[in-house]
């Protein structure tokens, strides 16, 4: 361990951490928006569920490195666009599934009561269905986020990579144990922190979930 190195590179590490977080947040944000839309579409036309799940399953199956390789010729190297296209693709399968499971979990009695009381279709969606589906949706976001934090490291190979950029860039020149550790431990910490943050977020958002009381 070379503490002096850490001291000299604290700015660089902070910058790369920020990159890592931004890339993840972007991917989850865009992925959630697309998945929400797809889930609504499937709800309206159930026959679309098969095709949409098949496509997102295929996207999920493409090895990430190969996907970057395919995209780079179109976008150029060090392209955030290429990285995000890949990252978002990987979130869709997880997120669409969870959005759907969340919506399907809303009891028909609740929906009937909502309609009978005079909530309009959009009020039913935003005030009833979405909040009730939230625990399952947030659970999906949690898995997707941890997955994406891991995948961001792979984007190091196209010149991005967040924290892992530190490893690749510096270690290529000369092996540096401290840099390797900083990058690795940083990425792990980020994933663990995100995971914990989602657990807390879920509890804060859903004080009404019965199991919570017994769990704490």
């Amino acid at each position: 361990m070379d503490l002096a190195w850490l001291g000299r590179n604290v700015d660089e590490l902070a910058l790369r951490t920020l990159d890592h977080v931004v890339m993840t947040v972007l991917a989850i944000g865009i992925g959630s928006a697309i998945s929400f839309g797809l889930a609504l579409l499937i709800r309206r036309r159930r026959s679309l569920q098969g095709p949409i799940m098949a496509v997102s399953g295929t996207l999920y199956a493409i090895p990430s490195l190969a996907l970057f390789a395919i995209l780079i010729p179109f976008t150029g190297p060090q392209s955030l666009l290429a990285a995000e296209i890949a990252l978002v693709s990987y979130t869709i399968l997880i997120l669409v599934r969870n959005f759907l499971a969340g919506f399907d979990g809303v009891s028909p009695d609740v929906l009937e009561a909502a309609a009978g009381m005079g909530l309009s279709p959009s009020q039913r969606l935003w005030k009833v269905e979405l909040p009730i589906a939230l625990p399952i949706i947030v659970a999906g976001m949690r898995i997707a986020t941890v997955t994406v934090i891991g995948l961001v490291t792979v984007t190091a190979l196209i010149g991005l990579g967040g924290l892992v950029y530190v490893i690749i860039e510096l270690v290529y020149r000369r092996f540096n144990l401290t840099a390797t550790l900083a990058g690795t431990v940083g990425a792990i910490l980020l994933a663990v922190l995100a995971d914990r943050a989602f657990v807390l977020l879920q509890r804060a958002l859903t004080p009404w979930v019965a199991t919570r009381r017994t769990a704490t």
Partner: protein, 404 residues
């Protein structure tokens, strides 16, 4: 516009030649040419076997289902004259599984419709308190709790409060007490009847249970398959004079016994109980009990006046204070709104054939005996006999006069 803080009385609901068909003009009707008028402030029970269109008929009132032809009016206004969403906010809706919103507190559940109608926060808060009190849930205890923390009966009461929130003149209730056990159902029914005395809404109540229909309905509409109205009348008229073989079969062979559901415990003369509190002297109580001719038991009650159980001569031997555990538990309790049928059934299942009449807070208000019930029955039974003869024999006109 409807009145708000004062509970608005009900409005007349009328079905005029309403037909509902799923599919083309050749498809069988779910509801066929239904015409009936429900007077303001009355409970009309739609009852019939499954597939008789009772729920479909009810849901056409708030347009969860739209009729194929015919029209439905509330207070003279066609339900089609308002957008469906606005119409529904003016009609209370209670369903069997309640359908409380699990992510909202009890207070927020109750105030959904007032908030949709953009009432001022102050007014919403006041109304919520008022409603929770009305259905017997202490606002301070319940306002901030979530539905999962409540029992089935409590949830159903919240469901009723929620339906009453914006003070609608009309309420639709779809098997509202179907999901609770028989004993709690009886209490919820009684509670609801007490509530209706105060709010006087026009209520359309769907059930498949004839006994519930007889108990709850000011009028009963019996529907048969295809949504054909078989009979629409008061419970006593239907029991005395079923309009068709279908009605007779549906109401059941035990029509005489069902007439027990027409009278209530409050119609009987109550017996004054010998009420005893823990700590009273046995010899004293024995003396008091001896002074009463027709009672062999004293009734032990707690500090709030709620019954704990019977004390017999055996428990009163010797002297010294009566302790808490002395009573034989299991005194059947009935409420003033209980039907004689429910009361009788409760009393027959206990060793002491006396019913303890309690009020809404479980405090003892009197006793009723099996004898009193059979006494009360004598007059109606004779009327029923006359009616049966009339139906069987030739004196039809005479019978119809007797039925009135």
């Amino acid at each position: 516009m409807m009145g708000v803080m004062q509970d608005a009385a009900g409005a007349v609901v009328a079905f005029e030649h309403v037909t509902k068909r799923y599919g083309g003009p050749d498809a069988p009707s779910a509801v066929t040419d239904l015409t009936l008028t429900i007077p303001a402030g009355e409970i009309c029970v739609l009852v019939g076997p499954s597939g008789c269109g009772k729920t479909t008929s009810m849901k056409m009132v708030n347009r969860l289902i739209e009729p194929t032809s015919g029209r439905i009016t509330i207070g003279g206004d066609d339900v089609m004259s308002l957008p469906a969403v606005e119409l529904r906010r003016r009609i209370g809706y209670v369903i069997q599984q309640v359908g409380l919103f699990p992510h909202l507190t009890i207070g927020d559940n109750v105030s959904v419709v007032p908030r949709l109608l953009r009432w001022k926060p102050n007014r919403v808060r006041e109304r919520t308190e008022e409603l929770l009190e009305l259905v017997g849930l202490e606002p301070g205890d319940y306002r901030s709790r979530y539905p999962y923390e409540l029992s089935g009966g409590e949830r159903q009461r919240v469901g009723v409060a929620r339906a009453l929130a914006a003070d609608p003149p009309v309420m639709l209730m779809d098997e509202p007490f179907g999901a609770v056990d028989p004993i709690r159902r009886e209490r919820l029914q009684n509670e609801f009847l007490r509530l209706q005395e105060q709010v006087r809404k026009t209520i359309i109540f769907v059930t498949h249970d004839v006994d519930e229909a007889i108990k709850m309905g000011d009028r009963i509409a019996i529907l048969q398959r295809g949504g054909i109205l078989a009979q629409y009348d008061t419970p006593s008229a239907i029991l005395a004079n079923p309009a068709s073989e279908f009605v007779e079969r549906f109401v059941g062979a035990d029509r005489g016994l069902k007439r027990l559901s027409l009278a209530r415990v409050r119609d009987l003369e109550h017996i004054e109980p010998v009420v005893v509190h823990a700590g009273e002297d046995r010899a004293e109580v024995r003396k008091r009990l001896d002074r009463v001719d027709d009672l062999a038991y004293a009734l032990l009650v707690d500090e709030a006046g709620r019954p704990l159980g019977w004390i017999d001569q055996h428990d009163l031997r010797g002297s010294g204070p009566i302790d808490h555990g002395a009573a034989t538990p299991g005194a059947p309790t009935v409420e003033p709104e209980s039907t004689l049928r429910d009361a009788l059934s409760a009393m027959l299942s206990s060793s002491v054939q006396l019913g303890v009449v309690v009020d809404g807070r479980d405090r003892v208000v009197g006793l009723v005996s099996v004898d009193a019930i059979s006494e009360a029955l004598r007059a109606p039974v004779r009327a029923a006999d006359g009616q049966l003869h009339a139906v069987d024999g030739a004196a039809r006109a005479a019978g119809e006069t007797a039925a009135g």
